[in-house]
């Protein structure tokens, strides 16, 4: 029971870290960004590439892997996403999906298609009510809370954050004040992408790293964003943990149904509360 709970929270935490960027870019730019899954994958591979150079130390390798997302996402925003502003949403889907496919093939070309396992970087266990839990998973849960709090403070307390909140609601009106909205959207895109890479890094030791890992997580994060409400930061947070729990609990009774159940929940939410884009 405690094990299931902890697993649900871990999955929820990772889902949150990955999805929040997707939610921000959809909310501000109205762009469905499939390339997000590529950045997530690149995060994981960058970790694997960096580890040997850093004596196997996980934390500095993580920092490097997250930073690797900065130039990559900047280029994607500047040269692809920015050309799609105001265009029909289908173009964004096609263009960013193409980026994802090309990126995945390049990843496969560099690292091969064989899954790469990664060991638990902490490798310690904590005994809670007689159940032994990996400390690494507890750290993930704590980190996701930290990301949530940091984003809340950034969005609510800083001027840049307020511009983003205003831009989520009405980007034309922000522009009418003399503010270059695109500059701030680019920043948001890069931050969101860094979080996707961070999510890829954190998830690597729990699953295995392979070129197609992004596809599976892409669908799950879209479910999180849709259930949480597009562009709603708190909604995304709650929905990530609820869906993480759904996965953990369903998986406990019948493994193969875990992910399916997420989409059942998503469908039910969309029937009750449809989205108008």
């Amino acid at each position: 029971m405690i094990n299931t709970l902890a697993y649900g929270l871990t999955i929820g935490g990772i889902l949150y870290i990955i999805s929040v960027g997707l939610s921000l870019t959809f909310g501000t730019m109205r762009i469905v960004n499939f390339a997000h899954a590529l950045i997530y994958t690149v995060g994981a591979y960058a970790l694997i590439a960096a580890l040997p150079f850093l004596g196997g130390y996980f934390v500095p390798a993580t920092v490097l892997a997250v930073l690797a997302a900065v130039p990559l996402s900047y280029v994607i925003e500047r040269y692809i996403i920015r050309r799609l502003y105001g265009a029909s949403i289908d173009y964004a889907i096609i263009a960013t999906y193409a980026v994802l496919l090309i990126g995945v093939d390049i990843t496969k070309w560099i690292w091969g298609a064989t899954p790469i396992p990664l060991s638990d970087p902490v490798n310690q266990y904590l005994n809670i009510f007689g159940v032994s839990l990996p400390v690494y998973r507890l750290i993930i849960i704590a980190l996701s809370l930290l990301v949530f709090l940091a984003l809340e403070i950034f969005l609510r307390r800083t001027m840049v954050g307020k511009i983003v909140v205003a831009g989520l609601e009405d980007r034309e009106a922000v522009s009418s004040l003399g503010i270059n909205v695109e500059k701030y959207f680019c920043l948001i895109f890069v931050i969101g992408s860094c979080l996707a890479a961070f999510g890829g890094v954190l998830y690597s030791p729990i699953t295995t790293v392979h070129p197609y890992m992004g596809f599976q997580v892409l669908l799950l994060s879209f479910a999180v964003v849709l259930v949480g409400g597009l562009g709603s930061m708190r909604g995304t947070f709650i929905s990530a943990f609820v869906l993480g729990m759904v996965m953990a609990v369903t998986g406990r009774f019948w493994g193969p149904a875990a992910e399916t159940m997420v989409f059942v929940v998503m469908a039910v939410v969309l029937i009750i509360k449809p989205i108008d884009v």
């Binding site: 001027m159 307020k162 511009i163 909140v165 205003a166 989520l168 609601e169 009405d170 034309e172 009106a173 922000v174 522009s175 009418s176 004040l177 003399g178 503010i179 270059n180 909205v181």
Partner: protein, 230 residues
């Protein structure tokens, strides 16, 4: 001439919504644009202020060709568009709404607040409330005050009294009257009492064109005559 628009054409896809429109606004003038719903007034204002691309034509502001310049740059140059539908940032407080407008002009937050309080003193009571809780009239007054931050030369205001209760319309009217002469304004307005009392000139817009301009005060104050264009 502060603003000079020549033979402007605007399209949505293949549908032409503004056809060969020419108009001028001089320093300090208060000009009204009157016409039926769907005549193309909003489209015209949004094109001048850089929110929509023009098909062809000239737009000169303060001597510079601004056709194709993005809206945020035009705002910094001193041209402000106040949207129809009273679009405040509902998730932010009134104070934050004001500070956001001060930010690109590097103006002190307190000075910006004073500017808004100057035209709408009662706003001090709502400063730390979410702007989403304001009534339509309160929103409009906030927007008008906010548009003055950074000392623009020209305001383009889209239907400032639309949908407001009579008492609030008076208040918006008084604010517009107070602003008159201090900067140039091009205002879309359907309330003819407001138009006839404030206008220096009136452009009539019909089906994407401006077939008439009213210059004499006798014409402007003839509300019955104006009514025919609505």
């Amino acid at each position: 001439m502060l603003l000079s628009v020549g033979k402007l054409n605007v399209f949505y896809g293949s549908a032409q919504v503004v056809s060969d429109v020419s108009l001028e606004v001089d320093q300090g003038e208060m000009i009204f644009l009157v016409g039926r719903n769907g005549a193309g007034k909003t489209t015209l204002l949004k094109t001048i202020s850089g929110f929509l691309p023009s098909g062809s034509g000239k737009i000169l502001f303060d001597g510079a060709d601004i056709n194709g310049k993005p809206s945020n740059e035009l705002a910094l140059m001193g041209m402000r568009y106040v949207f129809q539908d009273k679009r405040v940032f509902t998730q932010l407080t009134v104070r934050e709404n004001i500070h956001l407008a001060a930010y690109p002009f590097k103006q002190k937050a307190s000075e910006a607040e004073e500017k808004v309080v100057g035209i709408y003193p009662e706003i001090v009571r709502f400063m730390d409330k979410k702007a989403g809780g304001l009534s339509g009239g309160q929103r409009q007054l906030l927007l008008l005050g906010r548009a003055l931050i950074g000392n623009p030369q020209l305001l383009l205001i889209d239907e400032p009294t639309e949908g407001l209760a009579a008492g609030i319309i008076d208040q918006v009217f008084r604010v517009l009257k107070m602003m008159k002469g201090q900067l140039a304004m091009l205002i879309v307005e359907q309330n003819l009492a407001v138009v006839s009392q404030l206008a220096d000139r009136v452009y009539i817009m019909q089906e994407g064109q401006i077939p008439r301009e009213l210059v004499s005060q006798a014409d402007i104050q003839d509300q019955e005559q104006l009514e025919k264009y609505l």
